[in-house]
């Protein structure tokens, strides 16, 4: 079986399980929306302040709550499932890629729901050329999905996994968060977003290489 076919099978499996459980869409997405509602309640009533911090809040909530999409219980494989995949000769790298793509797609849905909610709640000033943010959102989703998939594998079956995995993901995702937030600022100041976009592409490529290279040893941990 080709690598691509293996990736597609893993991807379809993960999305089908998510479709049945609804853990990311029906639990994590509303959780992120609640966070967007809560933040203004904890701040002084200042419409201008909210408009200024809105885009930053969008990226922070995407990072902090989006990571739970990558750790979702429905994506965790039991040891018997893993043994079966191993016996079938599924490439560990294909497993990593398939699972990361599934998480990235779910994260994109998360961002698609979160972004208009942020615009409605925080009413940020219109940014000229805002569609240029779409590639940044896509890269942030792919990068975060890969970091989350890696962290989920590193902490698989550990008792303190629920606390440890976010501790690993949050600092590792800063190279995605900073250029994503800067891209928005660059658009506002009409400086173009080529530099942050290329930076994010480099980070995503480095993560992809790290994920594929370490997939084999990580499979042996489970």
């Amino acid at each position: 079986m080709t690598f691509r076919r293996q990736v597609m099978i893993i991807l379809r499996r993960d999305l089908r399980i998510e479709g049945r459980s609804g853990e990311a869409i029906f639990v994590t997405v509303p959780f992120g929306l609640v966070a967007l509602f809560l933040i203004p309640l904890a701040l002084p009533l200042d419409i201008e302040l909210l408009a200024r911090i809105g885009p930053g809040m969008f990226w922070s909530v995407t990072l902090l709550f989006g990571m739970f999409i990558t750790f979702r219980q429905s994506a965790a494989e039991s040891s018997s499932q893993q043994e079966q995949l191993r016996m079938l000769g599924v490439d560990p790298a294909a497993r990593f890629v398939g699972r990361a793509i599934a998480s990235a797609l779910l994260l994109l849905i998360f961002e698609l729901i979160l972004a208009p909610t942020m615009v409605v709640l925080y009413a940020p000033a219109a940014i000229p050329g805002w569609p240029a943010i779409i590639p940044l959102a896509l890269l942030a989703a792919v990068g975060l999905a890969m970091i989350g998939t890696l962290a989920a594998d590193i902490t698989a079956s550990l008792r303190s996994r629920s606390a440890l995995a976010p501790l690993l993901v949050a600092p590792l995702s800063v190279p995605l968060l900073v250029p994503a937030a800067q891209g928005l600022e660059s658009l506002r100041t009409k400086n173009g977003i080529m530099v942050p976009t290329m930076f994010m592409v480099a980070v995503v490529l480095a993560l992809a290489v790290a994920g594929v290279v370490t997939a084999q040893p990580l499979e042996e941990t489970t």
Binding site: I154, L164, L168, L172, V203, L207, T214, T221
Partner: protein, 237 residues
């Protein structure tokens, strides 16, 4: 054993000499006495990079050879790296307060990225504590060490990528951006700190080996209550 003490002795001599040079150099025209802290701050930051880079290399070494010594060296390197990165952050904040007027500038890419690297390796140490099986622990931490090392070039070049408050590299191919006395004190401290790192690395790796052996003995030892054997149930009882 002798090498470790020789390295630590040499490092102590070097540090006494380097730090006394930093203390006696003329005060900076702009920064005043706060410039002396560079004698500790730069070597500590350099050791953070070195330690985390070695953590990744020893992690790769473990994945290839499966020799426990590689894992002990990776863990020791990460521990020392966290210590020195913490020291670099604290000394940087003291210098920042004296020179910039603020201890922490949120707009500064070097500060933020160094702090994040520090947290990644705190996570590394937490992961090591969470995993009990030595082989699984070594494997997981080797992978995290490799992934974490991706941040090192980002932190190092952050001052070039983003124009922020933190100055660019002090020593560049076209020369150093500081007076000779300051440069000399910094380089001596850099060498002394590096020797200190080597001594601490050997020492801590040896400690980890002993700890692991003791732990293995504890696991093999009988637990309280293990002498109590439940009665066998007879058929029909």
């Amino acid at each position: 054993m002798k090498l470790r003490y020789a390295l630590l002795g040499l490092a102590t001599i070097g540090m006494v000499f380097g730090l006394s040079l930093a203390a006696r150099m003329p005060s900076d025209a702009v920064q005043g006495n706060s410039a002396r802290i560079i004698g500790i701050h730069v070597p500590a930051a350099w050791l953070g990079f070195l330690a985390f880079g070695l953590t990744a290399l020893f992690g790769i070494g473990w994945l290839v050879t499966k020799r426990p010594k590689m894992d002990y060296l990776a863990a020791s390197s990460a521990e020392i790296g966290v210590l020195f990165t913490g020291l670099a952050l604290v000394t940087g904040m003291i210098w920042g307060k004296a020179t910039w007027g603020i201890a922490w500038d949120w707009g500064d890419a070097r500060l933020a990225s160094t702090a994040m690297m520090f947290f990644v390796y705190l996570g590394y140490l937490a992961l090591r504590r969470a995993a009990t099986d030595p082989v699984q622990r070594a494997r997981r931490s080797a992978v995290l060490g490799i992934v974490g090392a991706l941040q090192i070039p980002l932190v190092y070049f952050s001052v070039n990528i983003w124009r922020t408050l933190h100055q660019t590299q002090s020593i560049r191919p076209d020369g150093a951006s500081m007076p000779t006395e300051t440069l000399l004190a910094m380089l001596i401290n850099l060498a002394a700190f590096t020797i200190l790192f080597a001594g601490l690395l050997i020492w801590r790796a040896d400690q980890l080996r002993i700890e692991e052996a003791r732990l293995a003995e504890t696991v093999l030892a009988p637990n309280a209550g293990s002498a109590v054997i439940p009665p066998k149930l007879q058929p029909g009882s």
